[in-house]
């Protein structure tokens, strides 16, 4: 059976492809190199109009270590994909209009900054992000949870994406929020397996981003998939498990 891990080299290749497409689509991704090394990360900033939901969200601390085994297994990939890849994604300025319409509370414009890094421990991409008001005040973990759409919140609690925690950005040393990667391989496996079986090209980073991004307001336009150029885009690795 093939392994569904991502090697650092392929991560870079996937990122390059994503950047090429991003340039064509003009949706603002860039590559930020880390001084004095080969490493770096994908970066994008976006303004989001977010409905502020005053209801308390969840016990942020108690469950945050539980990216654990005992949580029930749902099938988030298919459902999340279907619900969250928005057909009106080309309309960038209006991307959150659906969210606003769904809520009665007030809304607020927030500045979001998204980083995609490679985790060499889990050998997966990891999404880091931070959010601030236009006046520059950083959002707390509770506020970030509050800005996740209620429909997502409910689903998150029973899915492998269930963990948003505050963590140190491993390249910048600053506090960021992070979607925990420890179950990424698990939910990516069926997608990659299917693509491989059908000899369909797949960009690991792009596919992964389309699943985890919408949770925190980061939409991946459908054109990424419709414009995917088959010849250049197989970014999956054969198994590399080394000794053992």
């Amino acid at each position: 059976m093939s392994s569904c891990v991502l090697e650092e080299e392929s991560f870079h290749r996937c990122c390059q492809l994503l950047l090429q497409q991003s340039q064509q689509l003009g949706d603002g991704w860039s590559w930020e190199p880390v001084q004095g090394s080969q490493e770096g990360y994908l970066r994008k900033t976006a303004l989001r109009s977010v409905a502020i939901d005053p209801r308390p969200v969840r016990d942020q601390a108690g469950s945050s270590s539980d990216c654990g085994q005992e949580e029930e297994q749902s099938a988030p990939v298919a459902s999340a994909d279907a619900d969250t890849i928005r057909s009106d994604a080309e309309d960038e300025d209006d991307e959150d209009e659906g969210v606003c319409a769904a809520c009665d509370g007030g809304s607020q414009v927030l500045q979001y900054e998204y980083h995609v890094l490679f985790s060499c421990s889990y050998r997966t991409p990891v999404l880091y992000f931070r959010a601030s008001t236009l006046e520059g005040r950083s959002l707390s973990l509770e506020e970030v949870w509050g800005s996740v759409h209620p429909n997502f919140r409910v689903r998150l609690q029973s899915s492998p994406l269930s963990t948003v925690t505050q963590q140190e950005h491993p390249l910048l040393g600053q506090p960021f929020f992070m979607l925990h990667p420890c179950r990424t391989e698990e939910f990516m496996r069926p997608v990659l397996q299917a693509a491989q079986d059908q000899h369909r090209p797949v960009n690991y980073v792009l596919t992964w981003l389309s699943v985890v991004g919408p949770v925190v307001g980061l939409d991946v336009p459908l054109q990424y998939s419709t414009q995917l150029h088959p010849a250049a885009s197989v970014c999956m690795d054969p198994a590399d498990d080394g000794p053992g």
Binding site: S65, C120, C182
Partner: protein, 275 residues
Amino acid sequence: MADDKDVLRDVWFGRIPTCFTLNQDEVTEREAEPYYLLLPRVSYLTLVTDKVKKHFLKVMKAEDVEEMWFEYEGTPLKWHYPIGVLFDLHASNTVLPWSITVHFKSFPDSDLLHCPSNSVIEAHFMSSIKEADALKHKSQVVNDMQKKDHKQLWMGLQNDKFDQFWAMNRKLMEYPTEEGGFRYIPFRIYQTMSDRPFIQKQFRPVSPEGNVHTLGSLLKEMYPAAIPSDGEQKRYQVMIHGIEPLLETPLQWLSEHLSHPDNFLHICIIPTPTD
């Protein structure tokens, strides 16, 4: 192996005498006396400073108190690093006791993670253990453990119970004899000379040719400047738990014996004192 067991104890019971002083800009009703404490090297600042907090709150009004944080000579101290790492990185080669300033306002959001409760420390600690096991055993050992086993690791650390912790932690230290070590060594190399907080990559305990990797071979790959070339004066100290292990020490042995309870080998590189 009896000697090696002693190493585990020595690491666990390492203490740093510390003097906590209230930041002079805090509003107090009367003068705050400093507070002295022996800090366990392997624990976390926010986990062992309840007494410090209580001590200073006695002289403060409730409305002047926000989230507590610590600073050493202008540097906010990251509670999510083990205490010993903070000391080695920022304060080794200085006089004891370690003098830490306590703050109750102006939390430095852009430098420090918030720590509203011990469950946040627990989450951070368990997440490090899981990450380390992903490197060592592809997560197999930690995933085979039960919730109560995870709890035992945490409670062992929280309550400073060496035997309770190690009864479980030894499972995380096992490996197939024929492989000569873990899959990868969970390590982090810290330095204060650049913005990047630490270096963490994949590194095996044994080379493809079957040679045992040492602390020196790790540094040669990750931080060559830390190894003095022939005839050159030593520019850096390579510290783990306040000592400078020989560069010839096998990495696998270091990982088993000098790792912190979070299962990472934390290595500090600091400029050699000039005097």
